[in-house]
């Protein structure tokens, strides 16, 4: 087992006692699905709430002075950081899969029709939003810790509102490129994946630099 995977497992064992709370944040957006009758709204809220729980690993580490444990383990700091990002991405994907499985069922029960395209669109936007929130949050937590860095917890909320605002302002009909991407499920998904990968790469590099210079 390589060190990155060991770090992922360690992070999982950190949040294991809090799994019920995290699961609750995945269930909560169901209310928004019922009220708004929109898959996109439900997925957006689900990803926003899940992004807000990413501070758990940092809070638990800080509460138990576990930076000392991380400091004595035979593992590179870069592996620790990549492990934490992978763990958080797994959390995001779990929330996304859960929401994509449950929300359409609820909407169908409520009499709404969900097309294949709605489904892919919601998935792509969900991935993008989660990435957008966490790429700013995680370096913030590494730099300032879970208490001072709590301000970064609100980035998902601000980001969500800004995204909603921008979506209505973008002149989609005037941009042929944007229209082509939006109308093609494959291109939309591919663009989201490339953009997300680029954002995470930069964010991981910044976090590694912060942790390497941090004194425990």
């Amino acid at each position: 087992m390589n060190n990155i995977w060991k770090a992922v497992k360690l992070d999982f064992s950190l949040v294991k006692p809090y799994v019920k709370t995290i699961c609750f944040t995945m269930i909560l957006p169901v209310v928004f699905v019922v009220v708004n009758r929109s898959l996109l709204t439900g997925i957006s809220f689900a990803m926003c709430f899940t992004a807000m729980t990413t501070g758990y690993t940092f809070s638990i580490t800080e509460k138990n002075s576990m930076e000392r444990l991380y400091g004595i383990l035979p593992i590179r700091k870069s592996d620790m950081v990549i492990g934490r990002y992978i763990f958080i991405i797994i959390m995001g994907l779990t929330a996304l899969i859960f929401s994509l499985a449950v929300h359409p069922v609820i909407l169908t029960i409520l009499g709404e029709t969900i097309s294949k395209f709605d489904f892919i669109n919601a998935a792509a936007i969900g991935i993008f939003l989660f990435a957008l929130y966490t790429v700013f949050q995680l370096p913030g937590y590494y730099k300032l810790g879970s208490i001072k860095g709590r301000v970064f917890m609100y980035i998902p909320v601000a980001g969500f509102l800004i995204t909603l605002l921008l979506i209505t302002k973008i002149p989609v009909s005037e941009s042929r490129l944007l229209l082509t991407v939006i109308n093609s499920p494959v291109l939309l998904m591919l663009s989201a994946v490339i953009f997300v990968a680029a954002m995470y790469t930069v964010s991981i590099l910044v976090s590694i630099k912060i942790l390497k210079n941090k004194e425990m």
């Binding site: 064992s13 006692p17 509460k63 576990m66 444990l69 400091g71 004595i72 590179r76």
Partner: protein
């Protein structure tokens, strides 16, 4: 490899504090006490050895590996015990093993169970349910389970009752018995060192005061006692530290200077005496 730990010219500057030019070596098979008053730089030295702080100068070799360039190799066979637990309070002991064992290739689950039994730690308990002494034993159990060659303990006895302190010292003595393990043990409870340590490294106000064999350290000082009329200005200059009472004085002197104090009462100095007399800036209090 004869030395399990080599620290050379180690330096670190903070605002208002400077650890300067610390050099010592810990040979294989021995216990070294790292002593000094609170704030003298003991924990800073340990954190620099573990690369948890960035040094401003010097070099550290742990089990022959550079503590920065070969950090993983250096940590693979080292165990660390701090003054409080570094595991999640919510973890059960079995979870501690699951979480930590993956990082050590030579982790021995059977040995871990045996040590837990020996230390009377129930695997079903949560870390937060353990006393401070038990938490310290849990950290030791982990280090013993992957056969850490070098054990570094930062103030492990602070806050422990005398029974737990005695148990810890016994465990450490057993640990080095085979000659293949070493311990660096920081403390300000010098009584513990009188019993357990073979070597002493004494840091005072960020500077290295002494590093060498404990007997040599204790033997290099004496306590002299006398009446006020026997205390001349010339003698005072030769004293490392002095305490003056209304009826007389007691002072710490170097054994090499003892001839000049032959007319006074001379007693052996304890580690505590040496730390108390040398730990005060100016070395005098009245």
């Amino acid at each position: 490899m004869n030395n399990y730990l080599e620290v050379r010219n180690l330096s670190k500057s903070f605002e208002g504090f400077r650890l300067h030019d610390i050099t010592f070596t810990l040979p294989k098979g021995y216990i070294m006490g790292l002593i000094g008053p609170n704030g003298s730089g003991k924990t800073t030295t340990i954190k620099l050895i573990l690369n948890m702080l960035k040094r401003t100068g010097g070099e550290v070799k742990v089990l022959g590996f550079d503590n920065i360039a070969d950090e993983q190799e250096a940590k693979r066979n080292s165990g660390v015990v701090f003054d409080s637990s570094y595991f999640s309070d919510e973890w059960k002991i079995s979870q501690v093993e699951k979480s930590v064992s993956a990082f050590y290739e030579n982790w021995d689950t059977q040995k871990f169970s045996e040590i837990l039994e020996k230390f009377h730690i129930q695997p079903s308990k949560k870390v937060k349910e353990l006393s401070k002494g038990m938490q310290m034993k849990l950290m030791l159990a982990c280090a013993f389970s992957y056969d850490a060659k070098l054990l570094i303990l930062d103030e492990p006895t602070s806050g422990l009752d005398p029974v737990s302190r005695d148990e810890l010292l016994h465990i450490l003595s057993e640990y080095i018995e085979d000659g293949g393990h070493s311990v660096l043990f920081s403390t300000h409870i010098t009584e513990d060192l009188e019993r357990a340590a073979d070597y002493i490294t004494y840091i005072s106000y960020g500077e290295l005061f002494f590093s060498g064999r404990k007997d040599e350290f204790v033997d290099s000082f004496r306590i002299v006692k006398g009446g006020c009329e026997e205390l001349s200005a010339e003698l005072r200059k030769k004293m490392t530290g002095i305490r003056i009472f209304s009826t007389g004085f007691e002072a710490l002197v170097k054994t090499g200077d003892l001839k000049q104090f032959a007319h006074l009462n001379v007693e052996p100095a304890s580690i505590d005496d040496i730390v108390v007399f040398t730990g005060r800036k100016g070395g005098q209090y009245e």
